[in-house]
Point group: C2
Chain length 117, copies 2
């Protein structure tokens, strides 16, 4: 029941592309993640995918366009839409929200384990 400073949480670990759970809201995991370079193309058939940039820049590539996010920008990738997050200009730190247990790659076999911090 303490306030959670998201960048402090993101700075408390160094591993990239490995979301850390900082809170729960109803059936969702509230997470911070550090990203750099290219992720894999994927989609989430069962859920929208929430991104909010805390630090740095993130491109979210869609099949027909790229959405470029800076600090303070939010974007929700609709359920089922293929996307690829790419941090081209150094590291980006983000707030992510997904239903508990959603695999970050869209596939349980390749998903990062989400660790609570």
């Amino acid at each position: 029941m303490d306030p959670i400073h998201l960048l402090t949480k993101a700075n408390s670990f160094s591993e990239q592309w490995s979301p850390r759970i900082v809170a729960q809201m109803n059936d969702c995991d509230v997470m911070v993640v550090r990203l750099e370079g290219e992720f894999v193309w994927h989609k989430h058939p069962e859920t929208d995918d929430f991104f909010f940039v805390l630090e740095g820049e993130l491109d979210i590539e869609l099949r027909d366009r790229t959405v470029s996010l800076g600090v303070g920008d939010l974007f929700v990738v609709p359920q089922g839409v293929e996307h690829r997050p790419v941090a081209r200009n150094g590291e980006a730190k983000l707030l992510l929200i997904e239903p508990r247990g959603t695999p970050n790659t869209g596939d349980e076999a390749t998903a990062a384990k989400k660790i609570a911090i």
Copy 2:
């Protein structure tokens, strides 16, 4: 399908205590709100209540303590817990997330109408 800069959205209107919907994520409204002074004591029997401070400072008073939030701080009030948001030091601007249709006062009769912007 454009990025949503939350502070730009919050600065696009002036009414306080009147959440504006900026996106949807699954069954939730993603909102920005401007707060100043004291809100009413209330609770949400059916949902957790998500607060993230974009600008300013916010106290979330609970019956047994006060949680003081600054910029970059997140707090989730658990379902059913009485709370009162208070912005004591000027205006605060926040990101809020709640299941669609959740009354901001916990009571349909007194709730603000949530407008999409």
